[in-house]
Amino acid sequence: MKIYFKSILYIFVSFTVLISYVSESYAQNVWTSDTGYVLPRKTLETGVFQNTAYGITDTLEVGTHPLLFFIYPQGYVKKQWFKSNNLAFSSRHGMGIPTLLLNLLAREGTGGIYPADMKAPFVLSHFHEASVTYKFNKKFIVSGTGDLNHALTSGGSRFATVDMPLVYSRTAHWYEDNWYARVGIDIQGSINEWITYLIDIDYFFLPSYPSYINIEHKGALRFLFKKGRYGIVAGYKMVFGTYPFGKQFHIIPFADFTFRFNL
């Protein structure tokens, strides 16, 4: 029973890490991730898998994943620098130390994402992102985003990459390349008062891997309840990417439950 519980726990942690890559923060019928918007002041947005974000002021948002934080200390600050009726611009800056999480996932048996005989290096990752959003009307916005991700590593044994969609493109720089960049476009809108949609496409660069290509596309619907305090997100992610074994295409479904509070 104990072993079974541990297996479930490790799978949950792995799944949470994975889902956190596709979940988005949301505010006022808009996913704020990859947009020029931030959460409104004193608004807390959380979910089962996604990051938790909080609006400190109407132009400043902070976020982390509270469950993962103790094994993967990480967080970000997002600052909105400009906002007019149709245009918004913000930047986001964050860092994380995944070393403990990596070593936790290096284990025998179920949930062993890495071999048990490997020891993770110390990794300090940080990213810097800029987003701009243009609102065509109340029901339709388009955003452009670019970010730069860098990792400082030290020590550890030879450590394996995780050759999976979504994960490899975001973690390979911990082992091989030291940095990667991403550019993307998001389209968001509302179908009616209680259903919104998101379509995005992202392109990843790994500079020291010239033949590397990774394109991700996401489509998601969000069903809102209780004036938007509760939400169910369901969608898919399509990934065409380069891995150490070659190129591959994946379709990955995902879902999350989200909660929003005005504190």
Binding site: G109, D117, Y197
Partner: protein, 361 residues
């Protein structure tokens, strides 16, 4: 606009629900096998007989002590290790010069073997020209023991053209929970048709049955193998069939408590064959074995093909070749060491190769 929204809405729901096999681990009951051909076809001199070889090559792992046989904790190899091990495997194959090679546990796209396609490697470095491959363990990512991506299985390689390659799924172990079963090995029979220069056709079959089943799954797999051979026989066709049956012959003196079995985890204990001694009876009764049963029963140890202990020696026979035609008298050889085969095969895999000469009818 409303029309576009409806299309998007339907697309999201459909795509969200469509990926019922997100890690690509599943197979149909019957599938086409994967075909390979050497870049350079080497014309073989056909003498009217066929040298047949079967070998479980342990995914080019040589004698590295891996976690699953409990002698070590290794999970992944680097590319140089795999190439070094496969080079030694290929040297042995080239020494034997088989016309047909039945190979088990060959990796084509696995992280543990540094993504070296071992079927292509063998084709490139031997005089074998054609191959069919059937995966028995495939997953985009196995979230256990740090294995990552796996595509490993069985292959039939030949100097002569192969066609109609088919993967026939075998029953899965029934005692696994659904999560384990989803990611676990899916055993199969790989079948292909060999066409000789004179136009004659021979069915070739390769099998690797379950090693760790405790619910009779291995027996079911062996019985299905026997039924397939009977079908071919009754259809008036000739076959050459073999592989790693993970079962010992009737009349084996030692059936349990093998000294190399050091696993304490029940899932990896596979050394008690005492209740399985008759499982191969029907195969021996209906078809010709490369090593006749009477020869094996006279001297078990000369025909042993397996041990997990690199410091020990072969201590059980798990590998076989059968036919409904005929093998040349006394042409069999279990390549155990220098004195029996000319090479120290203990260093190359946890199985020894078995060869025999088939007389074309």
């Amino acid at each position: 606009m409303l029309y576009l929204k409806k299309i998007f809405f339907t697309t999201v729901i459909a795509l969200s629900l469509s990926s019922c096999d997100p890690f690509n681990t599943q197979f149909e009951d019957t599938e086409n096998a994967v075909y390979y051909e050497s870049d350079e076809i080497i014309t073989a001199n056909y003498p009217g007989t066929l040298k047949v070889m079967t070998w479980n090559v342990k995914f080019g792992g040589g004698r590295i002590d891996f976690y699953f046989d409990c002698h070590g904790d290794r999970v992944l190899m680097d590319k140089q290790e795999v190439i070094n091990n496969m080079s030694a495997v290929v040297d042995k194959i080239n020494q034997v010069e088989p016309d047909i090679l039945l190979i088990q546990e060959v990796d084509v796209l696995s992280k543990r073997s540094a993504y070296v396609n071992q079927v292509k490697y063998i084709l490139k470095n031997t005089s074998l020209n054609y191959a069919y491959y059937a995966s028995q363990w495939k997953a985009d990512f196995v979230p256990s023991d740090g294995l990552g991506r796996v595509d490993s299985g069985n292959a039939i390689l030949s100097k002569y053209p192969l066609s109609k390659g088919k993967r026939l799924a075998l029953p899965l172990i029934g005692t696994h929970d659904s999560l384990t079963s989803y990611f676990y090995l899916k055993r199969n029979i790989l079948m292909a048709v060999l066409t000789l220069p004179d136009g004659k056709e021979i069915d070739v079959l390769n099998i690797h049955t379950a090693a760790y089943s405790k619910d009779g799954t291995k027996k079911k797999q062996i019985d299905i193998f026997h039924q397939e051979l009977k079908k071919i026989d009754e259809a008036g066709r000739y076959f050459i069939a073999g592989g790693d049956l993970n079962a010992i012959p009737p009349g084996s003196l030692k059936t349990s408590d093998f000294p190399d079995s050091v696993c304490t985890d029940e899932d990896f204990i596979a050394d008690d064959y005492s209740a399985e001694s008759a499982w191969l009876d029907s195969l021996y009764a209906d078809f010709s074995s490369a090593v006749p049963l009477v020869d094996y029963q006279t001297d078990n140890s000369s025909f042993f093909t397996h041990t997990t202990d690199k410091n020990g020696f072969w201590n059980r026979k798990l590998d076989y070749i059968w036919t409904n035609g005929s093998f040349a008298l006394d042409s069999y050889l279990t390549h155990q060491d220098i004195s029996s085969g000319g090479v120290e095969t203990m260093l190359l895999s946890d199985h020894a190769p078995l060869t025999v000469v088939y007389e074309v009818q």
